[in-house]
C-alpha cells in the first residue's frame, strides 16, 4: 500500500470510530478529545518545521498563544463574530513570523533553538505583565460553542490541517526542506539560498500553529499567558518526538497521548506533575523506541 494511503487510513480509522462513539461519549471525554485535537494540530505544525525543516522551534507556542489571544481580542474588543474572528490572528502572525524568521533562521541548530526560547519568553512575559491583555489571568469572554458540534468542527479542522501539511511535505518544496535538513552545505552548493526556504517553512508552520491556537477560545472561552510560554513549546516538541519525528501522523498520536496523560495526571499529581509525566514518557520513548511510536509500530507492522 502506498505510504500516503497508509497514513491517511491510519488517520481516518480513529476518526470514524470517534465519530461513531461521539453520541455516547461522556461530556468530559468529548472535551478532552477536543483539547487533544487542538494540541495534536499544534504538534503537527511543529513536526513540519522540525521533522522536515530540521528546526527545533522552542518558541512555537508564541504563535499558538497569539492565535488564541487575537481571536479572543477580536471577539471581546472589536465585536467580531466568532466564526470570522479566526481570520484575524494572521494579520499579526504573518508579519511577526517573517520578522522572527529573519533573525532566527540565520543561526541554525542550537543557536536557532536558543533564539526561539528567548523570544518565546519575551512574548510570555509581555502578556503576563500587561494588564490590558488580561495579565496573569489572561483574556476571557470569547464565545464557546456547543461541545459536540464543536468536536466535529475541530475534527474536520484537524483533518484539513493534516492533509494540507502532508501535501506541502510531499511537494517539491518539502523535498527541498528535507534536503536542507540532510545537508545544508550541499544545498548551498547547488544554488539554494537556504535561509529563504527556512523562512518560508517557518512562516507556514507558524500559520498552522496559529490556526490550532485560534480554535482554543471556542473551547475554553479565552486565552491565558501560559499558552505563549516556551514550556508549552517544549511539550509540543515532546509530543512530536514521542509520536515520531517527521512522520506527521506521529505528531497527532503524540499530541493525543501527552494531552490525555497530562489530563489524567491532574487528578493524581500536584500542579505541574503532568510535565513530569511527559518528560518520563519522552525518556522512555527515547530509550525503547528512539524513532517514536508511529514509525516503530509501522516497522513492526511491515515486518
Amino acid at each position: 500500500m502506498p505510504r500516503k494511503t497508509h497514513s491517511y487510513l491510519l488517520l481516518l480509522a480513529p476518526i470514524v470510530v470517534l465519530l461513531v462513539i461521539l453520541p455516547v461519549l461522556p461530556h468530559f471525554y468529548v472535551f478532552l478529545f477536543c483539547t487533544a485535537y487542538i494540541f495534536g494540530m499544534f504538534a503537527l505544525s511543529l513536526d513540519f518545521l522540525m521533522g522536515y525543516g530540521g528546526m527545533p522551534n522552542f518558541g512555537q507556542a508564541v504563535f499558538f498563544g497569539l492565535g488564541a489571544y487575537v481571536v479572543t481580542m477580536a471577539q471581546i474588543w472589536w465585536h467580531v463574530p466568532p466564526i470570522l474572528s479566526v481570520i484575524f490572528p494572521y494579520a499579526f502572525v504573518i508579519p511577526l513570523s517573517f520578522a522572527l524568521a529573519r533573525v532566527s533562521v540565520r543561526g541554525g541548530g542550537i543557536y536557532f533553538a536558543l533564539i526561539t526560547i528567548i523570544w518565546g519568553d519575551i512574548t510570555y512575559r509581555t502578556f503576563f505583565y500587561e494588564w490590558t491583555l488580561g495579565g496573569s489571568d489572561g483574556l476571557r469572554g470569547a464565545t464557546t460553542f456547543p461541545l459536540r458540534e464543536y468536536y466535529i468542527i475541530i475534527l474536520i479542522a484537524t483533518v484539513v490541517c493534516y492533509v494540507l501539511i502532508r501535501k506541502i511535505a510531499d511537494s517539491q518544496f518539502g523535498m527541498v526542506l528535507r534536503a536542507i535538513r540532510e545537508n545544508e552545505t550541499r544545498m548551498r552548493f547547488v544554488g539554494c539560498k537556504v535561509e529563504n526556504y527556512r523562512m518560508s517553512a517557518f512562516v507556514i508552520s507558524s500559520c498552522f500553529a496559529t490556526f490550532a491556537g485560534s480554535l482554543y477560545p471556542g473551547l475554553y472561552g479565552g486565552a491565558r499567558p501560559e499558552l505563549l510560554h516556551w514550556a508549552l513549546s517544549t511539550l509540543a516538541v515532546t509530543m512530536v518526538i514521542v509520536g515520531g519525528l517527521g512522520s506527521l501522523v506521529g505528531a497527532l498520536i503524540g499530541g493525543f497521548i501527552i494531552t490525555f496523560l497530562i489530563e489524567w495526571s491532574t487528578s493524581y499529581l500536584p500542579m505541574g506533575g503532568g510535565y513530569t509525566i511527559a518528560g518520563l514518557i519522552l525518556v522512555a520513548t527515547l530509550l525503547f523506541m528512539p524513532k517514536g511510536i508511529y514509525p516503530t509500530i509501522k516497522r513492526i507492522w511491515r515486518s
Partner: protein, 249 residues
C-alpha cells in the same frame, strides 16, 4: 583577456591569521579542458576551490568567471552562474533516494516557484539523462546511503552536474578508491566532459591518475603556483620533481 579563458584568478590571496593559504595566485583555465591541480597537503588546493566557489572570502585579489568578477559572491549565486563543485568528503543527501538527490539539485538550481508548495515530485528528462551518463539510472529508487562508496562519489558528481554547470571543480574525485575504481571514475570524468562539453578542474594526489587524464597540470606549493603545463612538461620540471616527487637533480 583571451577569449578561451573560462576562469581566471588575479593575485588571489587567502590568509588564515599569519598563514598565507593562497599567496598571489594567478591562474587561467581554458574552456573544455581537463586540468588537474597537484601539490602536497597544505599547498592551498582546496582553499583555492573554497575561495572560487564562495565558501571562503578572499583576503585579496580577484576571481573572474567568463569575463565577470565574482570575487566573494555567495555560493548559491556562483552556482547559478555556472560553477559547480564535488567535495573531498562525499557530500550527498543520504536519506533521500538517488533520484531525489539529483532532482533536488536540478530544480533548486533552476529556481522553484511558489506553486512548488503543492506540486508533486515528477520525473524529469534532464535528471534521467544525468543518471544515465553516470550509470546510476538502475539505482534511482535506492536511498543514497545504500550505494557503495564509488557510486556515492558518482552521485555527488550527478548532483553537481544537475545544476547545469559550465565549470566543474572536483576535489580528489578518486580519493579512497581502489585503482580499478579510480580508473572507472576518471572514465566518467572524461565522459562527462565529452558528452556535456564542460570544463573540468580536479585536485588529485595520485600522479598516475593526473598524468593519464589531465590535459593541463597546475602545481601548487605553500599557497603559490610553482609550475603549470602539460603533464609531460610538469613531470620534467626540476622544481616539481624536487618538491612534489622528492627527486633532486
Amino acid at each position: 583577456m583571451k577569449d578561451n579563458i573560462i576562469l581566471k584568478t588575479i593575485d588571489l590571496s587567502k590568509n588564515f591569521g599569519s598563514l598565507a593559504a593562497l599567496d598571489n595566485v594567478n591562474l587561467e583555465f581554458e574552456y573544455g579542458k581537463i586540468t588537474s591541480i597537484i601539490g602536497l597537503n597544505g599547498a592551498g588546493k582546496t582553499t583555492l576551490f573554497n575561495v572560487v566557489t564562495g565558501a571562503l572570502k578572499a583576503t585579496k585579489g580577484k576571481v573572474i568567471f567568463e569575463g565577470n568578477e565574482i570575487t566573494d559572491y555567495p555560493p548559491h549565486k556562483i552556482v547559478k552562474l555556472g560553477i559547480s563543485r564535488v567535495f573531498q568528503i562525499t557530500n550527498i543527501f543520504p536519506e533521500l533516494s538517488v533520484y531525489e538527490n539529483v532532482l533536488t539539485s536540478f530544480q533548486v538550481s533552476r529556481g522553484l516557484k511558489l506553486s512548488s508548495l503543492f506540486s508533486k515530485l515528477k520525473e524529469m528528462e534532464g535528471v534521467t539523462k544525468i543518471l544515465e551518463v553516470l550509470d546510476l539510472l538502475d539505482k534511482k529508487d535506492l536511498l543514497a546511503n545504500q550505494l557503495s562508496y564509488g557510486e556515492q562519489r558518482r552521485l555527488e558528481a550527478a548532483i553537481a552536474l544537475a545544476t547545469n554547470p559550465k565549470l566543474l571543480l572536483m576535489d580528489e574525485p578518486t580519493g579512497g578508491m581502489t585503482p580499478l575504481e579510480s580508473a572507472q571514475t576518471m572514465d566518467f570524468v572524461k565522459k562527462i566532459r565529452d558528452t556535456l562539453g564542460l570544463t573540468i578542474v580536479f585536485i588529485e594526489h595520485d600522479m598516475d591518475v593526473v598524468m593519464r587524464n589531465s590535459e593541463h597540470v597546475v602545481v601548487m606549493d605553500k599557497g603559490r603556483i610553482i609550475c603549470g603545463g602539460t603533464p609531460q612538461e610538469v613531470s620534467c620540471d626540476g622544481k616539481v620533481r624536487e618538491i612534489y616527487l622528492g627527486v633532486t637533480e
